[in-house]
């Protein structure tokens, strides 16, 4: 199952990237109180997902040297931008990243169905649900921030 392990590795890595990026966004926009607190919470959620995946990785192993999905590795949010437009762009980057994470969990859940691996299925479904909640918030927050950022912000 070389490709399943690749995807498990991808899930693990991209959740880590997402967690790091949420933390970077929290720090970079610390004066925006809700972004600061929610992004920290989301970083923990992503880490929880990795923790839940750890026993599975033990079982299947983790491959991160396969060429093809390597191109899917997304860069994290190394540096945050400034101001209201900067926040909007950072939220957008987080959304792209979280979408990658979510589809990775979808793919893994499909594999788990095929393998009849209940443990993996449960991990993938729960993690996918949590990622959906992250995406929903990002979408809500972007909708809120967009008009002001695009039209009025200095």
């Amino acid at each position: 199952m070389p490709h399943l392990t690749t995807y498990i590795g991808l899930a693990d890595h991209s959740e880590k990237t997402l967690a790091d990026s949420f933390r970077a966004a929290a720090e970079g926009h610390a004066h925006v109180a809700d972004v600061f607190h929610i992004c920290q919470m989301f970083a923990e959620w992503s880490e929880d997902n990795r923790e839940a995946l750890a026993p599975i990785i033990q079982r299947y192993g983790e491959a991160d040297d396969v060429d093809e999905p390597e191109r899917l590795h997304a860069a994290g949010l190394a540096e945050t931008r400034k101001g209201e437009v900067g926040l909007l762009r950072d939220l957008q980057d987080l959304h792209v990243l979280a979408t990658l994470v979510q589809t990775t969990w979808t793919v893994i859940a499909q594999g788990a169905q095929g393998l009849r691996d209940r443990d993996l299925l449960e991990v993938a479904q729960h993690a996918g649900d949590q990622t959906s909640r992250q995406l929903t918030w990002l979408n809500t927050r972007m909708k809120q921030a967009a008009p002001q950022a695009l039209i009025v912000a200095p």
Binding site: A33, D34, T136, P147
Partner: protein
């Protein structure tokens, strides 16, 4: 003759379960005024808390000289509380009323005329509209304007300008109440009624120090707990309040959860209902959604785990849950201890969950009262000056937005509905950045009442935003404004307002405002005229000039919505007072309680919101909502407990919580100008537990410094009844001080503002700021020369379980209010809709106005 400073609740009129609450008419007249001197009694209702007591204003020589309760009013049956008695009218003739507009010239505020002041506003407004468009405008209102004023401003903001940046200080006091209703029931609207008090077996007060915030409602409860077949009281509060004492007295429970852990406690109580089978499974299956998810959310919260996280006794959790589970009728009330604390919406929704699990809603004695802090907060929620759309309409539902566009005859694109309305904290952030360049503040004092005061002062004082303040006095906020507009207050203008349990009152103009002060309605109309806002037909957008016309326009847009005013008019509101909405053809006399049929406004096409993720605030989409097919069923929604945003640390080992005292309302703008009230609570203080005080060498009355990572205050210490590890500070005190004749003149006035310490953080769903979870440290500064100024009559009473301090430090009993009278009418009036009185009495009612 009663001193209602010392005797806050007055004489008891105990009565048995299921019988009507007897009437008692409370009255206060200024010294030297006899009842026969009163030239007229003008119908109104009290504006000094959210209870909404019917009240008449005594007028003599063109001045308000006192008040009396309206015996026929459904809310108070004639009673008034100390704030209403002593605080309603004195401010009006205070020497420092604003009587002329002020504008800033060379850094100073100078008097000017209305044309000049309004001219500056319009000039700035037009320039910003040309340059940046309507999103450059923000409005921050109050919980103390009238319905007609909120609605007029809402139309100006949404259809004239087209800005989503409108909110009120209601965000600080009542936003969670509205948000929790929307999440559980699909729309705002108080399910219960005060009449539930007469029929319940148990009353749960969650973070609700009712004896200080709604004294008359507490009288109503005391008359039951001291009568036959009394209800048991369950109190959730970190302080040993009068509610806690009543819980002990009635065989109930006092749960004092660690500050910030409400949701953990609620999850534990919910679990107990499941564990013991105290769930009406058939009702839940038929009338709710989400029971399985809720069960799994609370599964881990055993009483022991709750005890561990909340610092309460596991058996107390069991006992409280048993009272809830085994009572026929439970009344739950909720206030700031939940709303202004961590995970506010989730914890308040959890109260609904308990009622829904037991099917305890919609019948006398089985009710929910999510309270408000302010008298007209409900109207801000209804009319949409808080950002919501008028009439509990859903901003995410194009049909609802179109209804408003049709009513106002404007292009639907004008009405901001593309995102959730901008909440107060976000408005101030935009003002901080300068992307809101005009901020108009009416009838509220954010420089004292908003969290992290230093930041708020900086925002208001800066050049990046033009600030307009409209108020009665030069408040701490008005001092920082660019234009100050003198407003007429209660009794000086006519309008309606609606209390916590949906009861609408008319408040008539009794006297002329001083100098050039104008009603808030007139000020908003003046702005609309000057800006020339028109509708699609080229007619003035605001088609009304009087309060009554504004009311009728409002009633018209409520047709078909849960908040239906179509059956109400000024004429109907005169006379036997207090009518709860909905009032329409189906309910011509109003509606005592909602959801008697267990049909909730959750239908996708009807609801006010599609809902949110309680943990994140992420919005549920229309498609997701439709897929759930709620169709009139209520939502059971749970959330996982998470620790508060700021936990105690080595440098800040104590938990800081702010709150209220019975003798003051808000930032003391009115109550501080009543000598009776102000002398009862003349200066700020901080409450410590005996253990925390002893550990720091602090005695009663010592000066102490209380510091958080954001700021500090220096006030006197009351060694009191707050739980160990927590510190309580009243939030009322800014730097304004009344004259020495009213008990003012304290030299700590610049060092006592409780919100210097609070955090800029808010609930993800209701966006209500958190005032009750911050970490702090207390250090002793120096010895005091007497007791602290904290009242002894309330939760701030000294700790009586330990030996009293030395005589010079011993707190003196709070007293000294001028004489008031209380009389019981010979017969209890008939109260329309009251389930304690058989309906046939309606036709034989002999108690007319003036009979007392």
């Amino acid at each position: 003759m009663t001193d209602r400073i010392a005797d806050i609740y007055g004489l008891r009129t105990p009565h048995a379960k299921g019988t009507v609450w007897p009437a008692r008419v409370d009255q206060y007249l200024d010294p030297g005024t006899e009842e026969r001197d009163v030239e007229s009694w003008v119908q109104s209702a009290c504006l000094l808390c959210s209870n909404g007591c019917g009240m008449d204003i005594a007028v003599k020589d063109g001045r308000m000289v006192g008040v009396r309760g309206r015996a026929t009013d459904v809310v108070n049956h004639g009673r008034l509380g100390p704030k209403g008695l002593y605080g309603s009218t004195r401010w009006a003739s205070a020497g420092d009323r604003l009587t002329r507009p002020l504008v800033r010239e060379g850094g100073r505020l100078v008097e000017t005329d209305w044309d000049t002041a309004m001219g500056r506003i319009v000039e700035k407004s037009r320039a910003l509209l040309d340059e940046k468009g309507p999103l450059s405008h923000g409005f921050y209102t109050s919980g103390q304007l009238f319905l007609e004023e909120y609605y007029t401003l809402a139309v100006i903001g949404k259809a004239g300008l087209g800005t989503p940046h409108m909110d009120g200080n209601t965000r600080l006091c009542t936003a969670t109440s509205a948000a929790a209703f929307k999440e559980s029931f699909g729309a705002d609207g108080q399910p219960g009624s005060y009449t539930d008090i007469e029929h319940c077996d148990a009353i749960f007060l969650y973070g609700h120090n009712m004896p200080e915030t709604q004294t008359v409602l507490w009288m109503r409860i005391l008359d039951r707990t001291r009568g036959d077949d009394p209800p048991r009281i369950v109190c959730v509060d970190p302080r040993r309040t009068l509610v806690a004492l009543e819980a002990e007295r009635t065989g109930g429970v006092h749960l004092a959860p660690r500050v910030g852990t409400n949701l953990a406690l609620m999850n534990g109580l919910t679990r107990e209902l499941f564990e013991h089978g105290w769930v009406d499974d058939d009702w839940v299956a038929a009338r709710t959604l989400g029971v399985d998810e809720l069960r799994s959310t609370v599964e881990e919260w055993t009483p022991e785990k709750v005890a561990d996280v909340c610092g309460v006794d596991a058996d107390d959790v069991r006992r409280a849950a048993r009272i809830f589970g085994e009572s026929e009728g439970v009344l739950s009330t909720v206030l700031q201890g939940f709303y202004q604390s961590h995970q506010a919406t989730a914890a308040s929704v959890a109260v609904h969950n308990l009622h829904l699990l037991r099917g305890m809603i919609g019948r006398p004695g089985a009710g929910i009262l999510q309270m408000n802090g302010q008298p007209t907060a409900q109207n801000n929620r209804e009319c949409g000056a808080d950002g919501d759309l008028p009439g509990f309409r859903n901003w995410d539902n194009p049909t609802h937005v179109q209804q408003l566009a049709d009513a106002w005859d404007v292009d639907v694109m004008t009405i901001p509905h593309w995102a959730p309305p901008t909440h107060a904290m976000q408005i101030f952030s935009y003002a901080e950045a300068g992307s809101i360049g005009l901020l108009w503040i009416s009838a509220t004092n954010p420089a004292v009442s908003m969290p992290e005061s230093a930041r708020i002062r900086r925002i208001l004082d800066g050049d990046q935003c033009f600030v307009i303040v409209q108020d009665l006095f030069l408040t701490e906020t008005a001092e920082l404004a660019d234009v100050v507009l003198p407003a007429a207050g209660w009794g000086e203008k006519t309008g309606c307002f609606t209390n916590v349990n949906r009861t609408v009152h008319l408040s008539e103009k009794a006297v002329e405002p001083p100098g050039e002060a104008r009603s808030d309605l007139d000020i908003f109309l003046m702005y609309a005229d000057a800006m020339g806002f028109t509708n699609s037909s080229g007619q003035p957008l605001i088609g009304w000039r009087t309060p009554e016309e504004a009311f009728d326009a409002w009633a018209a847009v409520t047709a078909g919505r849960p908040v239906d005013y179509t059956g109400l008019s000024y004429d109907k509101l005169r006379g036997l007072s207090g009518i709860p909405w909905p009032v329409n053809e189906e309910h011509p006399d109003g509606t005592d309680r909602l959801y008697a049929d267990a049909v909730f406004p959750t239908d996708t096409d009807y609801c006010e919101t599609y809902g949110h993720d309680l943990a994140t605030g992420g919005t549920v989409t229309e498609t997701e909502h439709r897929a759930m097919n709620p169709a009139g069923r209520a939502f059971l929604k749970g959330a996982a407990y998470t620790p508060a945003h700021e936990e105690p640390s080595e440098n800040f080992p104590l938990l800081y919580t702010t709150g209220r005292t019975v003798y003051h309302f808000h930032t003391r703008t009115k109550t501080g100008r009543s000598g009776d009230l102000n002398r009862a609570a003349p200066d700020a203080w901080v409450e410590l537990s005996a253990a925390d005080a002893a550990a720091r060498g602090i005695e009663e009355g010592d000066w102490v410094r209380v510091a958080s990572p954001r700021g500090a205050i220096e006030v006197r210490a009351r060694v009191g009844n707050v739980m160990a590890g927590a510190v309580f500070a009243p939030f009322h005190y800014g730097h304004w001080e009344p004259g020495a004749d009213l008990g003012g003149g304290h030299d700590d006035a610049n060092r006592r503002l409780a919100n210097e310490l609070t955090m800029t953080v808010w609930d993800p769903v209701s966006k209500q700021p958190t005032f009750k979870t911050a970490a702090c440290q207390v250090t002793r500064l120096r010895a005091g020369d007497g007791p602290s100024p904290a009242p002894t009559t309330t939760a701030s009473a000294p700790d009586t379980d330990r030996p009293p301090p030395a005589p010079q430090r011993r707190p003196r009993a709070t007293q000294g209010g001028k004489p008031t009278t209380s009389t019981q009418p010979p017969a209890t009036p008939y109260y329309l809709l009251d389930p304690s009185q058989p309906p046939e009495r309606a036709s034989t009612s002999s108690f007319a106005e003036g009979d007392r």
